[in-house]
Symmetry: C2
Subunit: 154 residues, 2 copies
């Protein structure tokens, strides 16, 4: 599976939308929800979480809404996903600080954590800005792909 939740998707979509409309002083959750066909209240929660983490600034009241607190280039996909879905662990045993102590023989965990770090590195290298500008994102991703392939001959 290895997929991220819809909430994380929504969060990325919303940030992308905000990055595309830097002129707008403030965009409401409803605006974004209507644009993408997302359940408004669900998107609202996502945006609230992103606000709490500090990626967004909110304005209550009429004509209120959200705006990016930082430049789109400096916000990585990793930050967004981490804020919404929590810390990502590829191993199912590692749940926060509590590791699977029932299986001390689980030597598989360590190398997989390295893999986990690699994946986090990929996500860290993608910014919200990259989502807007398709060509650079595509070039960067395929570049990463080549680097990965080069490091090991399958």
């Amino acid at each position: 599976m290895l997929r991220l939740t819809k909430k994380a998707d929504y969060g990325l979509m919303a940030l992308k939308y905000l990055a595309e409309h830097p002129d707008a002083a403030s965009v409401s959750a409803k605006d974004i929800a209507d644009t993408y066909g997302i359940p408004p209240q669900l998107l609202a929660k996502v945006l609230q979480r992103l606000t709490k983490v500090g990626l967004l600034r909110s304005h209550a009241g009429m004509n209120g809404g959200y705006e990016l607190s930082r430049a789109a280039r400096t916000i990585s996909a990793f930050e967004v996903i981490h804020a919404i879905d929590g810390p990502l662990f590829i191993t199912s045993c590692t749940k926060g600080s509590k590791s699977c102590e029932l299986e001390p023989n689980c030597t598989v965990k360590e190398p997989l954590e390295r893999v986990n770090e690699s994946i986090a590195g990929v996500l860290r290298s993608i910014s919200i800005y990259d989502l807007v500008d398709h060509e650079t994102a595509a070039a960067r991703a395929s570049g990463l792909q080549q680097l990965v392939s080069l490091s090991h001959a399958m």
Copy 2:
């Protein structure tokens, strides 16, 4: 989240165990389950699936069990995970051939699919053999990490 299922974990652990015991003609599911404290019947299903895919060979009857059908170096973590958890999609909308047609505006999907390919590349570069030999796996993973970091200055 972005985590793989316990079944996939069990599968990797089992393959690692088999790679560590190449001398044994055949190892039963119960042996592996006892070693790691895994529910035997659950592990059995995982091994059956891996057999069906062709990663393992099975021998029924007394003193029966499983053995790797290929060298551990030629079996990637990606194959194992794919066999057990199915195709991995980082985007939650892309479910097999049926994409989310409700949201044609979902322009986030395309760049994320690139990310998906990068992650698949990382998993493809890790073999079962790497799980046994910790040092090379660690070196490789950190190597990938460096390459990723170099390609983009955060």
